[in-house]
């Protein structure tokens, strides 16, 4: 993959040609690849620096506070400016750039986050045309919902009450209960219990907060230090250019030397291991928002100390798998099959967990619920239930206590299965809503407001968003098309079904892969609806791709450098499609966008059960890998996700329209400010 990257400037710019196509427009998404090549390679003729400066911001993925602040504070600039630079020395060796100044030539050669300035400008201007309308639409929608919710919630509550009355109030007791044994020292015991519980909760509250602040500090320090380090390195490398060599080397370097790269690669990325020694309180930012915006450093599972610590806190008993692949040691991997029975048997012991949250956790763990949207909806509905049953303990503030509760639920869910990015966004939204609750609200009002917020989120960001996406995507399906999809994406399914309902004549090629074979269920449903389908496995991708005219793919997340983070295999499909010059359309709701930048699928991924790939269902004779865990020389790798570089993506269909992958940061920024954070 990396080897290809060196040569792929050829295909790079076609994205821009697709541009920002409005919903109605039926411009074919860039069948012409050769044309833009020249356009691009000629387009960045050493552009004016001021322009690059101004257009830097959409690419930079600054944490929102930067973009929202009117004038960029000096610190945020200094923190943000090194972002593209640390990435460059590793990836390219065109390093002789002084810090701070933006070199456009780099952006041409440069990989994913770099966009040729002209196109970027295009995107921005086009986008600014687009945004107000969509913003307006979204807002009007939200207003409507908000107004409709309170009444319905009232209705629901009354219904609940009557239900309870009929259930509990049987006035003719057929048999009375005689209390045989009461816990005698009830008050004492319960008090003790409560004391313990409060203590626990206190711990729960205070600990994360403490951690948070320290993390925030550390982040600030780290960013500053990283900037300094990068500067030093730049300078050093500029002095001795011996470090830079051929084009193939950096690729291999990047592949092998993961550790340093993961440290340096990222600006606002999260994978950087926290260095505890850098703890002095330097330029700490007291701003509260900052704390919230700073992403949590992801747990590094090769850090034994912290893993031990986390284990002690964990609810789910996790025994770590042996024989882990070296590159992926920082990701959690547990022996599958041990967690579920353990968690199930502890069902009644977990007092503070709300039943509905517990249920969702179990469903994640057992794989009953999978798929980004379904998981997110299930989680939000569980939180909604939990909020409904929530009552503020005495002498506590709802805002704080509920936030702590939600955090504890979230950490439980993470133990069951790592969160997807979309879920992270939803949680952020919910926590933000809790934090922003007006203090004048009573508890019940606050609760119903939060519940309606959750409903609104599900409705607007997922259900309606899907409808909009379907509407957009259908315009890209023409009669006689042969559409290829991979795996089982809910949105793509809706698109195909809707297009079929509209009477479009097309055929579907469904590509699937072991071990989950999720596509089969989709195939079943599509065929049942009368669609004409071809089913194949990903091994045959290069053959089936020949006849395909369009590729529709779902995504777990789209990152702000346009990288599509999706089910493993997606990158392969996209690359093959690209090689055959077939447009790749990614269908993804905007709530799944994330400001993170990711260049590979190593630093952040999820590991599945390795046993699944060692066994073949129904073929007991294929047991060559039977006792693989005992063989130290063998490691199995079952990745769940992969990252598709934006170059292979022609277009992202989202609820704000059809955008090139380069416009993702704009969406991330605007979406944040305009919708999510109201």
């Amino acid at each position: 993959m990396d080897v290809r990257r060196g040569q792929r400037t050829v295909i790079d710019p076609k994205v821009r040609q697709v541009g920002f196509v409005p919903a109605g427009a039926t411009r074919p998404p860039a069948r012409s690849h050769s044309v833009p090549t020249d356009a691009c390679s000629s387009s960045p003729p050493a552009p004016e620096l001021p322009l690059s400066g101004s257009s830097l911001s959409p690419v930079m993925i600054p944490p929102p506070r930067h973009s929202s602040a009117d004038g960029l504070p000096s610190l945020s600039r200094s923190a943000a400016s090194p972002v593209p630079i640390p990435a460059s020395p590793l990836r390219r060796d065109t390093v002789q750039i002084p810090i701070g100044s933006y070199n456009p030539s780099e952006s041409v050669l440069g990989s994913s986050p770099m966009i040729s300035p002209s196109s970027r400008l295009d995107a921005v201007s086009e986008f600014s045309d687009e945004v107000p309308t969509s913003a307006w639409l979204g807002r009007s929608g939200s207003g409507k919902f908000a107004s409709s919710f309170p009444s319905s919630s009232g209705e629901m509550m009354t219904m609940k009450i009557t239900g309870g009355g009929s259930g509990g109030g049987g006035n003719t007791p057929k048999s009375s209960l005689t209390t045989a044994s009461v816990v005698k020292a009830l008050p004492g015991v319960s008090e003790k219990d409560r004391g313990a519980l409060i203590e626990v909760q206190n711990e729960g509250i205070s600990k994360p907060q403490k951690q948070k602040t320290s993390k925030a500090e550390r982040r600030a320090i780290q960013e500053a230090q990283r900037a300094a380090k990068a500067a030093a390195k730049e300078a050093g490398e500029a002095v001795k250019p011996s470090a830079s060599s051929g084009g193939a080397l950096p690729a291999s370097k990047q592949g092998k030397v993961v550790k340093p790269s993961s440290q340096k690669k990222d600006g606002p990325q999260v994978t950087a291991p926290v260095v505890p020694s850098e703890k002095k309180v330097g330029d700490r930012i007291p701003d509260k928002d900052r704390k919230k915006d700073v992403p949590h450093p992801r747990m590094q599972f090769d850090d034994k100390h912290r893993v031990e610590k986390a284990k002690r806190r964990a609810v789910v008993n996790q025994s770590e798998a042996r024989n882990r692949v070296e590159l992926f040691r920082h990701l959690p991997q547990y022996i599958h099959g041990t967690q579920l029975p353990d968690l199930e048997s502890k069902f009644f012991q977990l007092d503070p967990m709300h039943p509905s949250v517990y249920k969702v956790g179990l469903q994640y763990l057992s794989g009953v619920i999978s798929g980004g949207n379904a998981r997110c909806i299930a989680m939000l509905l569980a939180f909604q239930e939990a909020i409904k049953d929530y009552s503020t303990p005495p002498e506590k503030a709802l805002v704080r206590d509920l936030t702590a509760k939600i955090s504890s639920y979230v950490s439980f869910l993470i133990e069951c299965r790592p969160l997807s990015i979309s879920m992270g966004n939803a949680i952020k939204f919910l926590k933000n809503r809790i934090a922003k609750l007006p203090h004048t609200l009573s508890e019940s009002e606050a609760k119903s407001s939060l519940q309606s917020d959750i409903d609104r989120f599900i409705n607007e960001k997922i259900v309606i968003a899907d409808k909009v996406i379907v509407g957009h995507a259908v315009t890209k399906i023409r009669d006689g098309d042969i559409l290829l999809t991979y795996g089982s994406s809910s949105v793509v399914e809706m698109i195909l079904l809707y297009a079929h309902e509209l009477g479009k004549q097309f055929r579907v090629v469904l590509v699937d892969s072991r071990p989950k074979l999720e596509g089969q269920a989709l195939l079943h449903r599509l065929v049942a609806k009368g669609l004409n389908c071809t089913y194949t496995h990903i091994n045959a991708i290069s053959y089936v791709m020949q006849e395909v005219t369009r590729v529709f793919l779902g995504a777990s997340s789209v990152l702000s450098n346009g990288t599509v983070y999706s089910r493993v295999g997606t990158a392969c499909v996209a690359m093959v499609a690209n090689a055959f010059q077939i447009p790749v359309l990614i269908c993804c709701e905007a709530y799944k966008f994330h400001e993170r930048v990711q260049l590979d699928s190593i630093c952040s991924n999820e590991l599945g059960d390795p046993d699944v790939i060692s066994k073949v269902a129904g073929r007991n004779d294929l047991n060559h890998l039977e006792s693989w865990a005992d063989n130290e020389n063998l490691q199995l790798l079952n990745l769940i996700y992969d990252a598709t570089p934006s170059d292979y993506v022609s277009m992202i269909i989202t609820d704000y329209g059809m955008i090139p992958p380069t416009s993702v940061p704009v969406i991330v920024r605007e979406y944040r400010r305009e919708h999510l954070w109201i």
């Binding site: 629901m156 259930g167 209390t179 044994s181 509905l381 259900v463 809910s490």
Partner: protein, 441 residues
């Protein structure tokens, strides 16, 4: 507690256990390793942090006795409410009588004669995970060792009634068919639509219904209200629910209500269809039927799920519902399932209370239990037996594979083999007992 309520059905004076149970000793108080059998269930629940229990006992007298014992033994530990129901109302009737006390979302119903170490949480969690209407605990019937008792014909019968014919889906999570082993003589009838829904049905005869059920409360109450002829949970309610899982009549409104509650709003319908469209709950092809059926939510909700939790083979699980089972369980609890008894075993793998007195040349073998205050004369031999409190046993007595309850007097030279001797029995000299049950009445 996780929105679960627990009902323990402790039974009354079961006729099946005729000589063993009596007015003084209802079934729930039958001793297993010198502890009432009910204590095993209560402690299992207690260890799962389930401390608010409703114990239903048949018969006022029995209820008084059980209540008295519980209040003595579990004061400060459990919050137990005892309800007395008339005799012979059956398990369904017993539940009907306490139905109005049930308020939680789900109800865990445990038989009081269960001796097991399967965590009830596992059943409850499976129930929750699938959003099932009923989840039942199935376990591999205990491997009873070569028992020296009982004629082969009798054993056969026991075996048949103990096992169930169970139909499961390929993932072994959905319960598709259940029938008591004794009922099945010639053929099993399986509904076509269920078969079509799952594609593959696995029928097993090595599983036993352990009488631990998690029910959705609304559904349970609906069934009990509507079908007032139902007598037993195991024989009526459960098969009924399993039978009707694809054309559910009762649960249609009940489920609907619940779903509405869960999702709350005007748009709830929207989510429900959305979620069902995306297989919120699809462990297998089972859901395909939902997807194929006309896509109205009414229709989709007309089905309900019956699930099974299959305990692993390493877990012990037995029900004290026959005399054979009584001796088996007593033997197992001091034998292979000794962790259940709660006693610490000596190095000889037996339990001899310090206050017990042994004569010279008396041997107590492994897997035996000798409770407090019992005295044994010289040259006695005890093998694989349980001897209760304050028994007086003379010299030259052999006790093999037997259960001797409290305050029993056995005079010199007796031979007791494979028998159960109830409390206060007096055996005179040189009695030879084989496969007998002796009670003072």
């Amino acid at each position: 507690m996780m929105d679960f309520q627990v009902v323990v059905l402790a039974g009354g004076t079961a006729k099946k256990l005729a000589p063993l149970v009596s007015k003084e000793v209802p079934k729930a108080l039958l001793p297993v390793a010198n502890r009432p059998v009910l204590s095993y269930v209560l402690e299992l629940l207690e260890s799962s942090n389930l401390k608010d229990l409703i114990v239903v006992v048949e018969g006022e007298d029995a209820a008084l006795r059980v209540g008295g014992w519980i209040s003595g033994a579990y004061v400060d530990r459990l919050h137990v409410e005892v309800a007395a129901v008339p005799e012979d109302v059956g398990t369904a009737g017993a539940l009907r009588a306490v139905a109005h006390h049930l308020t939680a979302n789900d109800v865990l119903i445990v038989s009081g004669d269960l001796v097991s170490d399967v965590p009830p949480g596992a059943v409850a969690a499976t129930h929750r995970r699938h959003g099932a209407v009923v989840t039942t605990l199935l376990c591999y019937a205990p491997v009873s060792g070569p028992s020296d008792t009982g004629s082969s014909a009798g054993k056969d019968k026991v075996k048949k009634s103990r096992y169930n014919i169970v139909g499961l889906d390929p993932t072994r999570q959905l319960l598709l068919h259940i029938a008591a082993g004794a009922e099945v003589e010639k053929d099993i009838r399986v509904q076509k639509n269920i078969l079509r829904a799952v594609g593959q049905l696995e029928i097993r005869a090595d599983l036993m219904d352990a009488h631990m059920y998690a029910f959705k409360r609304t559904v349970l109450q609906d069934v009990l209200d509507q079908k007032d002829t139902f007598h037993s949970i195991r024989q009526d309610v459960l098969p009924y629910l399993v039978r009707t899982q694809l054309r559910s009549e009762i649960s249609a409104n009940g489920l609907h209500k619940v779903e509405d509650n869960a999702n709350g709003r005007v748009s709830s319908q929207n989510y429900v269809t959305w979620m069902s469209q995306h297989r919120e709950i699809a462990p297998s092809a089972y859901q395909e039927l939902l997807a194929l059926s006309p896509r109205s939510p009414e229709n989709a909700l007309r089905t309900h799920k019956c699930c099974a939790y299959i305990a692993s083979k390493s877990k012990y699980c037995a029900r004290l519902n026959s005399i054979q089972a009584f001796s088996d369980i007593n033997r197992d609890v001091v034998g292979e399932a000794s962790h259940l008894s709660g006693y610490s075993f000596s190095s000889q793998n037996n339990i001899i209370h310090p206050s017990a007195e042994l004569g010279s040349k008396t041997t107590v073998g492994p897997q035996c239990m000798l409770a407090e205050g019992s005295q044994m004369g010289d040259k006695c031999s005890v093998k694989r037996s349980i001897i209760g409190r304050h028994c007086r046993i003379g010299s030259n007595v052999k006790i093999v594979n037997s259960v001797v309850m409290n305050h029993v007097t056995i005079e010199d030279g007796c031979l007791v083999q494979g028998s159960v001797i109830c409390s206060n029995v007096h055996l005179q000299e040189r009695v030879v007992l084989k496969d007998c049950q002796i009670s003072p009445m």
